[in-house]
């Protein structure tokens, strides 16, 4: 292969990578919009489900004491969603928001595989594993 062909090939590759990048950046934005929509919708739902949230005056210093316990495992969130609980919808939105950059990194792994870039596939995969590890680490404590 001559050098000119090679450079043409790489610029074509760059163009494709660029398209993937733009697609990902739109996904990022949609992820944020979708998750915040869920968060707002869930908050409204929980207020309609708990009329006491509108009338009961309490002291908010320090805790979420008078409310339902905080959902902090996927199975609890799933169960709450089945029951159409407002708090569970809010938590789903928050989880989606946390997942957005994680998915972003996950997609980048494929982008680097596509570029046949072994070194960066490895680096990105390691970052991805660290991100997944965070959920495990919080649970182990």
């Amino acid at each position: 292969m001559t050098q000119i062909q090679a450079s043409e090939l790489s610029s074509e590759m760059e163009e494709r990578v660029r398209k993937v990048e733009l697609l990902i950046s739109n996904l990022l934005r949609m992820g944020v919009i979708l998750s915040l929509t869920l968060v707002v919708f869930g908050t409204v739902v929980s207020f309609t489900q708990h009329p006491e949230f509108l009338s009961e005056r309490s002291f908010f210093g320090g805790s979420s004491a008078p409310r339902s316990p905080i959902l902090h495992s996927l199975s609890n969130v799933g169960a709450g969603l089945m029951a159409f609980k407002g708090e569970a919808i809010v938590t789903l939105g928050i989880l989606l928001l946390i997942a957005t950059p994680v998915i972003r990194v996950g997609v980048s792994i494929f982008a680097f595989i596509y570029q046949r870039d072994r070194l960066y596939t490895l680096i990105t995969a390691t970052v991805f594993c660290l991100l997944l590890l965070s959920f495990v680490l919080g649970k182990v404590e």
């Binding site: 950046s25 968060v39 908050t43 509108l54 902090h72 928001l97 950059p101 919080g138």
Partner: protein, 307 residues
């Protein structure tokens, strides 16, 4: 102690009147009133954060703890969620402008993610008072950093950079001001990695983006152009925050009724700030804010020291 009111709520309840009399900022309100006040104050925090070039997190945490008397752990949990929202929202725009150096971001993410995991883990082990003290110090530092001179270039002499060569970190970007590609070389990758680990620990520990630590690590140590540093830092902030947010979620520190108004408000404020007003240039106004932020960081320090 008010901050750990979770299990002795009745006791606190009886003390409300006394506290309301003593400290005017504590008000008994319904959850709706609480959420609406947090929402509006978060919009303001996001707006101010984007005007000053700080994140919203560093402003919202003192507000939640000092004004609303929320446990700092829940404040951190809510803030980290808002950091992800703001970063992901802004990263999309930077990718379009081709400012982000994705390779540099990925390599440095190794350090910041590991740091964020360490920080989020430490936050569960350290006492609450330490969180206030460290927050006060970092906030004071970040406020002073707003006055840092922004160097566009630090000279062109090439520093030997075997790591950056091996990792192919050198790149270029399109500069609108000069209407041309600007080619740059990256140096001191290992120093950058070390500084980024620290930035990650701070981010995970305090639930802030710690852009004030990331940007200088890139433009001063690694010699990236300031525009590239800012864009790449913004991209990395979301990933770093996701690493610690997982820990906070699993630990049960993300309270949906605090995180929801904070995340929504800070994002709306940040978008408004960047769309309508741009970056604040006036030195006098910045000076006023620096003084205010330094005062707040002093309050956080005091709260930590006196318990």
């Amino acid at each position: 102690m008010i901050q750990r009111g979770c299990d002795n709520f009745e006791v606190i309840d009886s003390k409300i009147d006394a506290l309301v009399a003593g400290i005017p900022t504590i008000i008994a309100m319904t959850l709706l009133q609480f959420d609406l006040s947090v929402l509006s104050i978060s919009v303001f925090a996001g707006l101010l954060g984007s005007l000053l070039g700080l994140g919203g997190g560093i402003i919202i945490i003192p507000v939640l703890t000092l004004l609303f008397k929320i446990d700092i752990r829940y404040a951190i949990g809510a803030s980290i969620v808002s950091v992800i929202a703001t970063s992901s929202g802004a990263a999309a725009a930077y990718v379009k402008e081709r400012m982000t150096n994705l390779r540099v971001a990925m390599v440095l993410e190794l350090a910041t993610s590991a740091g964020a995991l360490t920080g989020a883990y430490l936050a569960g082990q350290l006492g609450v008072r330490w969180l206030y003290v460290i927050f006060g110090i970092v906030m004071g530092y970040s406020a002073l950093m707003m006055f840092r001179k922004r160097h566009q270039s630090l000279g062109d002499e090439a520093i030997p950079a075997p790591w950056a060569d091996y990792l192919r970190l050198h790149s270029s970007y399109y500069d609108e001001a000069s209407a041309g590609e600007i080619v740059y070389r990256v140096a001191r990758t290992r120093v950058g990695l070390g500084l980024m680990y620290i930035a990650g620990v701070v981010s995970g520990l305090l639930g802030i983006g710690s852009g004030a630590l990331k940007v200088p690590a890139m433009d001063l140590a690694m010699r990236l152009p300031i525009k590239v540093s800012t864009a790449t830092s913004n991209f990395m902030i979301g990933v770093t925050a996701a690493a610690s947010a997982g820990v906070y979620f699993a630990r049960g520190d993300i309270d949906p009724f605090i995180a929801a108004p904070v995340a929504t408000g800070v994002l709306v404020g940040a978008v408004l700030g960047s769309r309508l007003l741009g970056r604040l240039q006036s030195t006098t106004i910045r000076l006023v804010f620096v003084v205010v932020l330094l005062w707040v960081s002093g309050q956080m320090l005091l709260k930590g020291l006196h318990g």
